[in-house]
């Protein structure tokens, strides 16, 4: 059986064989998959060869576990983002507390205002710590939001709003 016509498109025989599960070798199935991956024309034709009554029903529906996997992925992405931000803040705070940034301006007039400068430095450190705590609280609240213990398969919240960044 010829899978491709001289123009490089799938033949009707190939699509018929594909739709009814005819005898195709692994290489032939790979060639069909590669072609359907880029050819719009053959993709539309292949769908025409798959009417409703030719469709198969999976033994185990993916609907049962799909939302769980979506939530897991969203939490992983968000956790990774917040962990990165928290690490950056911690490093900045550490450098600040060791007066690394102060050394950069050591030769400037700031030296004459040491007391005021120290006060500003401690204020800033405090703000950084507050921000760090707020991020950690937000993250733990977010983790509580996602119930892995077996809630309903379809969440009532909109994941595109609550799992920001995934849809882009």
């Amino acid at each position: 059986m010829e899978l491709f016509n001289p123009h490089g498109h799938l033949t009707d025989d190939a699509l018929k064989s594909f739709s009814v599960g005819g005898p195709l070798t692994e290489l032939e199935r790979l060639e069909i998959a590669e072609h359907l991956d880029f050819c719009d024309e053959c993709l539309m034709r292949s769908i025409e060869f798959l009417p409703e009554d030719a469709l198969l029903t999976p033994a185990c529906s993916c609907r049962d576990t799909l939302w769980k996997r979506i939530r897991q992925r969203a939490v992983r992405v968000l956790t990774s983002r917040y962990a990165t931000a928290a690490a950056a803040i911690a490093i900045a705070a550490g450098l600040w507390s060791f007066n690394i940034f102060g050394g950069l301006v050591a030769g400037s007039a700031a030296l004459s205002n040491t007391a005021r400068y120290s006060q500003r430095q401690s204020d800033f450190s405090e703000k950084i710590e507050q921000l760090d705590r707020a991020v950690s609280d937000g993250l733990s609240r977010l983790n509580q939001l996602f119930d892995f213990g077996g809630g309903p398969a379809v969440s009532q919240t909109n994941p595109l709003q609550s799992q920001g960044g995934l849809s882009s």
């Binding site: 010829e2 899978l3 491709f4 016509n5 001289p6 490089g8 594909f18 739709s19 599960g21 692994e26 290489l27 199935r29 790979l30 060639e31 069909i32 998959a33 590669e34 072609h35 359907l36 991956d37 880029f38 719009d40 993709l43 539309m44 292949s46 769908i47 798959l50 030719a54 469709l55 198969l56 029903t57 999976p58 033994a59 185990c60 529906s61 993916c62 609907r63 576990t65 799909l66 939302w67 996997r69 979506i70 992925r73 379809v154 969440s155 009532q156 919240t157 909109n158 994941p159 595109l160 995934l166 849809s167 882009s168």
Partner: protein, 173 residues
């Protein structure tokens, strides 16, 4: 299309789960793999929903399913097939240049083999081997992804080699 509610996505899964599963199953011919690929397809659809053209959900999902099945088949196929070019010849063991020179009659025989290759390898090999286009140029001319063209070149090379060996053993070259 950029915003989709949970209910809409659930409806999409309900409407097209059988289509996606059928595409995956017909290509990989294994129930468990097809179920996994169906889930992977919807996961990818959820993540990249922005790129779905409005009104074309069905072909868009079928394409993702075919793409997932292709990746699965490629890794499975490459696990038990060594394509020419994959094996590396140590420099010291390469044949001398004079042995690599191809006579006119051999060149004519190779050209004939390439011209008679079956699709989807014929056009790719004509452009790559005979017209000396790069894989990128070949992909552009044929409207195929570069990665697919590279794979087809490798498999085409294997077919040329097989036919060449057959001709050599028959004494026709």
């Amino acid at each position: 299309m950029s915003i989709m509610t949970n209910q809409e996505f659930s409806a999409l899964v309900a409407n097209y789960e059988r289509l996606v599963y059928t595409v995956c199953y017909r290509l990989v011919q294994n129930e468990a793999s097809a179920e996994d690929l169906t889930q992977e397809t919807f996961l990818a659809a959820y993540t990249h929903w922005d790129s779905c053209p409005a009104g074309f959900e069905k072909p868009w999902l079928a394409r993702i399913a075919a793409n997932k099945a292709k990746d699965h088949l490629q890794s499975s196929y490459s696990r038990h097939t060594l394509l020419p070019g994959d094996e590396s010849i140590p420099p010291g063991l390469s044949p001398p240049a004079e042995e690599l020179a191809v006579s006119n009659s051999e060149m004519a025989a190779i050209t004939e083999i390439i011209q008679n290759l079956r699709e989807p390898y014929r056009q790719v090999c004509i452009l790559y081997f005979l017209q000396e286009c790069s894989p990128e140029e070949t992909a552009l001319r044929l409207g195929r992804p570069v990665k697919t063209v590279r794979t087809q070149i490798s498999r085409g090379k294997l077919q040329i080699q097989e036919q060449w060996n057959r001709r050599s053993s028959n004494g026709t070259v």
